[in-house]
Amino acid sequence: MSSPAENRLISAFRFSPAAIISLAIILFWTAIAIIGPWIAPHSPGRIVDFDVFGPMSASFPAGSDYMGRDMLSRIIVGTRYTVGISVTATLIASFVGTFLGLFAAVSGGAVDSVLSRAMDTLISLPSTIFALVIVAGLGSSIPVLIGASAFLYTPGIYRVARAVALTIVVQDFVTAARARGEGKLYIMLREVLPNMLPPVLTDFGVRFVYIMLLISGLGFLGLGVQPPEVDWGTLVYENLAGVGLGAPAAFLPAFCVVSLALAVNLFLDSIGDRAKAGSSEL
């Protein structure tokens, strides 16, 4: 038997063309991120074209970069880093933020106050500048990028999770569990968490976009993934000189960032309406 939640999800796919298109884009980039290195036509590091900032051609569909390397291969291989780092950081931030938010909401009192004030302090820091400081101080490496962005976006996720959990912990079924004598962990994980999944999952998508933009921004400033590896932000940075020449190398990586960010946002919008419409049953 399918639950109402499943029915809602199915109808979301069935009725919204925007959702279908954006989901296709998301799946496309996910697939590229996974199989990228095997389908790239050239090695991303090899100089294969005599021309630099070459135009789109049959042999180089995305043109070539400032050193004459194949742009298509570099974008394909870079996908893995941009998407991978963003997903990993978002997962870490979501787990930590949601768990802490849930813990604060269920505990209440002093625990909630201390945690919330600590998170407020972190929120008050401007994220890009703080990320710059961390990456500049520790040196850029993939673990540092993941750690810094996860750390920066945990408070936002904590806020959302706590707010959602607070509306649930006051419900009678949670009071009933408390009256039964249930422990804190059971109440958090079994009573409250399953009822806050739709907003938390929506938030996951939003934070993924933020983190991807942050990672790309750091790459653009030259603090992202370091050579020989590349990500989309670094690709824009490397080929910035090509902007004046109208080289595809300068624009295509930026276009990739925009396409994925828009797709995730559109997808969330189209399922978000339905999640909202159904949330009244709680």
Partner: protein, 552 residues
Amino acid sequence: MSQPFLRIKNLEICVPGAGGKPRPIVQDIELTLEKGQVLALIGESGSGKTTIALSMMGYARSGCSFTKGSVVVDGTNMLDLTFEQRRHLRGNKIAYIPQSAAASFNPAFRLIDQITESARIHGTMTRPEAAAKARALFAELGLPDPDRIGERYPHEVSGGQLQRMIAAMAMLNDPALIILDEPTTALDVTTQIEVLRAFKRMVQNHHATAVYVSHDLAVVAQMADKIAVLKDGTLQEVDETGHLLSSPSAAYTRELLAAAEPHERAKLGDTSSIRPLVEVRDLNAGYGAIKNNTATFPIVHDVSFDIAPGEIVGVIGESGSGKSTLARVLAGIHPASKGRMTIEGEDIGLQGKARSKERRQAVQMVFQMADTALNPAQTIHQLLRRPLDFYDIGDKSRRDARVFELMDLVQIPRSAAGRRPGELSGGQKQRVNLARAVAAEPKLLLCDEVTSALDTIVASSVLNLLTDLRHEFGLAMLFISHDLGTVSAICDQVMVMYRGRIVTKAAPQNLTHPPVSPYTEMLIRSVPQLRPGWLEEAEQGMPALREAVARL
């Protein structure tokens, strides 16, 4: 024959159903109403009574649409009007009194400004004229200090007064038709009688034509000339009030009348010789910090009582009397500031020190709203299995079978085990709620308004179930309700609570025998009885009683 004032012909109202095909929620409605008469629409929730009442203003709730028929009010078919034309009629020629006045007033503006707003919008009166008329209406509705009460803000008057304020707002433009939608349902009975009296006087004085929507036959019997009984969106029967009550023709009406009649369940008889199972002594509780055994805001004062095995003790009182706080303290959700409870001689601990699992198991609470008391993300099986696992009841391999036994006990089909609460009806949810409490095999069961949110017939089945349970398991039960009829029907002893104190403790049949507290007397007299003319009778002597209660 002249055209009646209101004529509804072959009305059908649809909502979009599965696959976009319209599904009727109201159909084949034929009703007429003469000028100066009161028509009552009665039925359970979902019967379409409010939907029909709203159609008289040409209004359909979002998603609903008029698919057939006509609603002619004073020669105008409301369904043909444009939005502008309807807007001109509403609040002017047709007035609507909603269930919750508190939700209808803006808390940021003075009452008088909100009440006279319709006169200003429709340009029927100048502001001073409207204000003068409002004050006259306040006086007519029996509001205290009618000249100045309008200067207050909504939170500065009581719920019953606010409901009368809404009536004043509705009457301001001398509407030709008044629609009253469950206007007293949210009020305590002692307040309800005052408001009913005021409404009735007003309707009589103005020879108003009114439609009264309610689920409560006894209330309707006081107000209406004519009653229309609805079920599942279809008309069951329309008749003069007196005739309908004495000789109903539709089977459903008879069912409603039978359910409204307090149906006495088997009682225990005298329990004074039996050793009590539960003893509560000197219980005090409140909110805020606790100092010297007193809370900053005390709610419950010096409550003591006993419950014998298999006995049901009722607690009755109006909202704010402390009855729910009492239940929460006994359930261990809220700490007592003072007092103790023992079950089989063992102290359960009420002072908020962590209560042990075994002691928690002995006291289980059934919450009022089954909608919120059951986790919407868990299946019925998970919900009922959890107490068994948590309290380690019975052999592990037997627990699944036990879940099904519990479902049988509360008459939930076994096939529903995999469903979630959202897929059950209100009555079924309340039975699952009950089964979960019983699953823990408690000694004391606390029932907090368990039938209040249910329709009469469904509530009756839940009461039967409770009576069966106490006979089967010898459970002690504390049954909290604001409804005297329900309490008298199943309880062996009744405690009347007023302002956190127990003012009367007696067997239900003795509640009417003096000496009882004036509050108890007032409460009993306020409960509507199913015969026309009760309202006028009950009002005799009420003012004196109210004064006596105020001195308590």
